[in-house]
Structures are given as C-alpha cells and as structure tokens.
Symmetry: C2
Subunit: 199 residues, 2 copies
C-alpha cells in the first residue's frame, strides 16, 4: 500500500538518499517543497542543475570555480610563489575565512587512503608536481587534515617534491585558541610542547 502519491514518494526517496538525511527528515523536506510556490520550487531545481553544470575545477589549482581560472588564481594580488595544499575545496574556504594567507592553493580532492582504495593517481597530485616543476614556486604548505591519512599524504607529497628544491612546510600543531589544556588530547599536548616557541 502506498501512503503518498508516487511523485511525492519519489521526492522523499531522493531526499533520503542525501547524506545525513533520514526517512523522517526526507518526508519533512518533501512536504516543505510542496508548500513552496511554483517559482520557489523552480528556483530550487534550477540551483541544483546550475551548480552541477557550471561549477568546474580551476585549471591551475583545481579549486571549484564557475568557469575559467578561479578568483584566487586570477587575482594579481595573490602570491603565486606559495602554494597551500588542501584536501578539499571547503578547506580553501576555511583558510580564506582566517584572512591570513595571501598565496595560492592546490586542491587534491581527497587524501591517499589505501582503505578506501584512493591512491596518488586518483588525486590532483600530478598537477601539483607540474606546477612546482615549472619553477616559480618557493614554498609548498601542507594543509591536509592532522589525521593519519592527511599526515601520510603530506609526507608522501613532501618526498615527491624534494627534487625540486622547494621549501615544504606543514601547518603548526598545538592547543586550539580558546581551548582548555585539560580537554586537549595527549597527542596534541605532545605536539604543542615539541613546537613550543620563545616568548
């Protein structure tokens, strides 16, 4: 017995297939769509199609862009001699929010993960090496996540870039600003001690 009309049931299924959306939430979202005006629904559907069709990867840094060079690679104000290597476009957004970094990026679109069958060839590593090989890069900052896979990827890249005589650095580890020492884990505290600085 079908409880909802087929097109509604289908929309519920579509929402339920999204990550983090369970059956009840999917139902709520589908009913919400029905409650929107025709125009709002049209806008929603267009936004989905538009995002998929017009968002591509920047030919230089592989960050997401709406076509052509990304705004960061296209900007003459950004320092192209420094490349910050991140796993995901969202990491670019996070670093940009800090308003501290003025170099360029390179988005790997993942990290090396033998468990998930992701090897170096599945990532934007060749394009990074080619950028560095072109010779005008002075520093590559590894800004992958501080977990096992992020670490391994950073180490792998550092070894790969050694022949190019470029400075390879890693984001500092330590106590997060505003954090409490008592809640910091052992590994973080150890790294914070190791990386202590003169006052």
């Amino acid at each position: 017995m079908e409880y909802f009309p087929a097109p509604l049931e289908k929309l519920v299924e579509q929402f339920a297939s999204l990550p983090g959306i369970g059956g009840k939430s999917a139902q709520r979202l589908a009913f919400y769509v029905l409650s929107l005006t025709q125009e709002e629904v049209q806008d929603f559907a267009s936004a989905i199609l538009e995002a998929k069709s017009s968002v591509t990867c920047c030919p230089v840094c592989r960050n997401l862009t709406a076509g052509g060079l990304c705004p960061i690679c296209a900007s003459p104000k950004r320092d192209g001699t420094t490349i910050c290597v991140v796993a995901d476009p969202r990491d670019v957004a996070a670093i940009e929010r800090a308003r501290e970094y003025n170099g360029s990026y390179h988005v790997l679109h993942g990290v090396i993960s033998p468990m998930s069958h992701v090897g170096p060839d599945d990532l934007e590593i060749k394009s990074l090496v080619e950028r560095v090989a072109r010779g005008d890069v002075q520093e590559v900052i590894m800004a992958t996540n501080p977990d096992t896979e992020g670490e391994a990827t950073a180490m792998y890249l550092a070894r790969l870039l050694r022949p190019f005589q470029v400075r390879v650095t890693r984001l500092a580890y330590g106590i997060p600003v505003g954090g409490h020492l008592e809640f910091a884990d052992d590994a973080t505290l150890m790294r914070a001690l190791e990386g202590r600085q003169e006052l």
Copy 2:
C-alpha cells in the same frame, strides 16, 4: 569575499533555506550534489519539479494525490460512511500503517490556531461539512493531535457537525503501548484512568 563559486553558493543557500538544515549541512548537501553524476542530478531536480506539479488534493477527502480521486476514496473496499478527520496528509500515512482503519479520511491541512492566524476558513472544514451534509456519513472520528490546538479544532468541528445527527468520536487517550508508567506525564495518566476499560 566569496569562498565558493556563485552557483555553488546559491545551491548552499537553497539547501540552508530548508527546514532543519543548518549552514554546515547545506554545504555538505551542495557538495554531495556536485559529486553526483549528471543523470542523478537531473533525476533529483525532476523529482522536485514533478512532485510540485503533479501532486494535488483529492477533490473528496483533500488528501494528497497524483491527480483525480486519491486511492483511498477511489477504492470500493473502503467504507465511505466513516470519516477520519486528520490535520495533515502524514497523519493519514500514520493511520494507514496501523492497518486497522478501513474508512475514509478528511485532511484539514492544519488546525485552528489563533496564534498563527489560522482560522476555520483557512482549513478544509467547509468541504468536510459538505461531505457530512450529503447524508451518507454515519461516524466522524476526530484524529487531530492531542495538543491544545488539535483539541480545540476537534471540539469546534464536533459542535459544527452536531446538526447533522452524525456520531462524532475522538481517538482514545492513554498510555502508549510499550511505554512506561513512570515516564507518562500527569495529563496522560489522568486520561488513561478516566478512560479505563473492563477487563
């Protein structure tokens, strides 16, 4: 400074406007859409448009249907002399899942709520009265939610239907099956005592 390309930013905004979806979830959903194939994205967008364009209200019971009479009103196996009045199409689905009720429904599409400026004229009350006035209805079961507004709506409808000499009933209150007495609230326990039945 824009961190994501405009079409992606727009999709994030669209997702964030859905109920119960915060900024971070919206971002995750938008990136998920980018990771889908062209065909899957097309299916998702079509499901949204299709649900909005083809789901209408049944001309008899005002439940959602994909056009024409809803399957319940159209079924010769359902008892049209009993009408179960619910606030929302999801309540029909809930009662249908119990596989106990074989009558027809009437969906009010809301409850009377002066706080939210919803009066009797904003609901499918006129259509209910017309159905009852036609004369072949024997019982109307009030199955609005057991909260203040649901109660008030049920009381209002009961008074409205009094002239038609039809039996008007209300869903039983009591301890939910599988519940624990110690966790039942006072009002529920009071109603469970009041409604106690011979064993």
